[in-house]
Symmetry: D2
Subunit: 341 residues, 4 copies
């Protein structure tokens, strides 16, 4: 039996779900009458809709995990495009390895968790659970980042500033239009990656610094924190939609504390929704309940809802629900990017 | 601050979701193009539809956990009513404490996991995660079981035989029509509870035996196993839809082995879907993968799919999908109950 | 490459851990000063020791999952042998497929979760996560059960009565001495399997009934419930050590309610420890917290502790701790089996 | 009933476990003969010991989650002190909020997950699952970081460089000796926090930049990545001990890819152990198996072991095992900090 070729492995492309193409409202409304995760899901959808209706509320998307490559990529684009998100805090992987990567014309593929990983390694195929990526394309993505870095004035940048440059680059060079990076660039929605180097971008930037040991750009994560805190100070009331946990969750929550430390009396996040499979009992931030966050003065109790589920199965329902409710039609864009101009 | 009263606690009734009232096909079909749980969910729906299309395939529902009281009760009724299930293997709680209980006119109520359980205890309110039950009503349910037992000829019964009597009782006395017990009775769909005493029924039956120490009925779980094996022998090809794991999952899987031990060459279950949050790594049957089951000769590999999710959030999508696909319209009822007449 | 043979798969035997051979007290005491699962584990050990010190407290072991075949089998024997457990409520698999099976001279083997299950199937090897069993030996175990059944007077038996006969059988025929079934027989510690047929015993008993359609024994699970309730009534104060959840957990908890229904005013279980990986959020009994159980009037709050962990990694620490504390030395055996003579 | 005071809440200090005070070898060796998590735990301990015996192998500790505040803090110190770890990659919280925090003389306290978080908020008490922290002390910790930042030449620093300064500061000012930061400083073991700002350090540094808008230090996460990659290039063979997942896990794994991108042919990590409760099925890096990592060319298959457990319950066993095996006695310190001098 001859072994499968790379082409045979990378055959079926992931298709990103389009929340506009179906209306989940009847299902979500029916789930509101149930118990367990169904009711939690419905409550989370309702709280997100409350954020959209609340004229004073700025909305943050905190994004960790691999939902972008797993078929949710277009959801995030649709949310930003329709004024349903005012700022994004994400892992580098979500923004660079997945979104920017597809904007360059590359794809994700359906795979299997039951596979010989040594064979994948030999073929230069990377695996995320049941999704495959062409490692050679990922290295092309690294190099696109390096090229952008090479073109910039050598000085410290926040990840937001650098991702803005990536958006600008895409606005001229993208193969797939409507990536999150390009859409956010056009909509003045800032994107932060507090652990930016921990991604394909990091690989590109390491090359950049290695080749330019004396004069190079750097990514200042303190500047990220300061900029995001300035947004929170300006926003006042706020809500957070969290997919997964990790650094993005912690970072956006910490802005409340940071503002206080800088002498500003800002309110806790008034609304908070988190979708996660993380286990609360290991004390990691990813899994800490929103109730726990309230002890830290980060999230106000009342309009908070954890949904313990793998996000691909529930986020499409929640997002389609709020999209079709249409409360976003009356929202004004915040254009937070303009604060820093 | 005065304490909440029982009436205040038991205010909002659980409303069971109606899979006929919305069409989940566009969502489930879109999920098929994604990764992670979304794709697993879509694959599970597709496999269930394959079972319904396969003219030779008998379909078993294995039911554990508390989804019936959590808003999925009507789903199971709709599946049985529309020839989508040919036999049910369930926990006693699902059948007696939840379904038979509601058939008697009692209700489940929305509750909260963050509550003072000592206060609930004082008020005779039982809690299942975020669902409340009136303990006094549950004791009335026990007594209805006792009444049925008192009326029967003293001898060993399979749980199926006893549940048939419960269905007959409901056909005359039910307050809520369309319970699973009554529907299955009318549709000749047998229901087995291999651990029948582990439920409200057990409490009723213990009273029955206590009051009638010499002449009383008994529930013979071996007879359950034998009857279910006879069904499997008759059915030949089969598929299993499993909600949760526990004894029901194990029991239906073991019929393949039992038939073999009795000298019959029956095929493994050809199709298998399981929805569970259980963790595979503790070696309990609830969480063992369907791949593992194939080592035991119970489930054939190929058309099997685990969906790692809390069932209330995914079962409505799967069930609505197959309902609206309509493959069940061409299925003949198996009337397995008639085997034992 | 030729395929692995059965002999090559079944090479390394599982060795059951001996809690007497090491003293875990210093570790467990150090863990008491920590947080998270370490502190929970230490608290659970302390509560078990409190049960042993409390002269009025009868102790129940509720046993689900596959820890017996996974190396904990001797732990349960040592607990029973040293008066640390007064009654056992277990799954059929733990008692028959694992313990009685090894008493007959058969073994469990180290395996791998990453294996071709179709190959195992062809070789008649069953797999429990990373443990292998010889299916032919398991069928010999079924037949031993059938042989015992064939020798008994045809009438309904509680599982306890039947397991007593198995203990008697082993006292004459066992190849491995010190099985749980034989030790419990000798120590007058009753063993209940409320879902007895859901095991290798079920296969043996199905054969027995099939071959003897008119005159055969039956297993009455109502009688189990009644007998266990009588024990609870006699015991008064009680504590429960639960490994996993499932039917055993539910069954022993329900005795409190059953006693009340029969008109006895028995106390809730005063002490309760549960080790489980189950997820609280699916509303299944396996995972329901002990706090939730108190709403049902089953477990008193105060001396209850959940340990969210896979049992093989924490039970040896807890059991060795209480063994070396030695509080059991002053305990009187309850000889609950004698109630029924 | 009057409410509990802050002093009453912060009463019982967490005591960090001392792996030198007990010898876990007999337990771990007995667990090697078992199945499930016990066997995984024993295999992980054995693989860590193999790393220590392998003269050519550099050992990285990747540290995420809150085990440091949960009683494992001294473990990490002992590992570094005894040449069992050559470099640390951690979350900012582990290093600053927990370790540096205690070095300043502050403490963590035993708490409860079942508490009124609004009351904690009013009292300025932060909660991590069942652990309490005095928020005022945490703010003092922020300010100590700010003070260090104020004293440094304004330019970009890697987190490693900054943490080195923290170690130097502690060598003069620490109240608790033997913190990880100070010990690593003295042992020339570099500590990296790739998401450094996401911590108490971030709060201190934000203040620093806010007060010094023109001339301030910055934290360059690209420099972190480059430095860590240089260490991997120098180390050649390597092993990784991972507690939790998150950014630290990803970062150390990516150095293999980074070295390759820079034109160096470095081997994958030869040994890898990860302790985590994360769920593999959400595709997040925290939970991705080491087998999956091998598809990315990061971790070599063969000497890799996942232990699915909450770390406080298993790490003390693993660490005590390797400590008492003594293989570290023949290891030479790598002094990786000196590379950058």
């Amino acid at each position: 039996m001859s072994k499968k070729t790379k082409k045979e492995f990378l055959k079926e492309q992931i298709k990103h779900i389009d929340i506009k193409s179906f209306d989940s409202r009847p299902i979500v409304e029916a789930m509101a009458g149930m118990s367990f995760t169904a009711r939690d899901l419905a409550r989370a959808a309702e709280i997100y809709d409350m954020m959209l209706k609340d004229k004073n509320c700025a909305i943050f998307l905190a994004l960790a995990g691999s939902t972008s490559s797993a078929g949710c990529m277009q959801i995030y684009v649709d949310l930003v495009k329709n004024n349903m998100i005012d700022a994004v805090i994400a892992t580098g992987a979500s923004i660079v390895d997945m979104d920017f990567f597809e904007a360059l014309g590359f794809k994700h593929y359906k795979g299997s968790p039951n596979v010989d990983d040594n064979l994948l390694r030999d073929l230069y195929i990377d695996r995320i659970y049941d999704t495959y990526i062409d490692e050679e394309q990922l290295q092309a993505c690294d190099q696109a980042v390096k090229k952008i870095a090479d073109s910039l004035e050598p000085k410290p940048y926040s990840s937001r500033e650098f991702i803005l440059k990536m958006g600008e680059y895409l606005s001229k060079n993208s193969k797939k239009k409507e990536s999150l990076v390009e859409t956010a660039f056009k909509k003045n929605v800032p994107i932060f990656c507090p652990a930016f180097s921990d991604s394909s971008a990091g690989l590109g930037l390491v090359c950049h610094q290695w080749k330019n040991p004396e004069k190079h750009i750097s990514i200042d994560s303190v500047k990220d924190f300061l900029e995001l805190t300035k947004i929170k100070i300006k926003a006042k009331a706020s809500g957070v939609l969290m997919i997964g946990g990790g650094v993005p969750k912690n970072f956006i929550q910490d802005t409340v504390v940071a503002a206080e430390v800088l002498g500003y009396d800002v309110p806790m996040h008034k609304y908070a929704v988190q979708i996660t499979v993380a286990d609360v009992r290991d004390g990691a931030c990813s899994s800490s309940t929103l109730k726990e966050a309230s002890s830290w003065g980060k999230v106000k109790q009342g309009y908070d809802q954890m949904v313990f589920a793998e996000a691909t199965s529930v986020l499409p329902l929640i997002a389609s629900y709020v999209y079709h409710k249409g409360s976003w039609k009356n929202r004004m864009p915040r254009n937070f990017t303009k604060i820093f101009k």
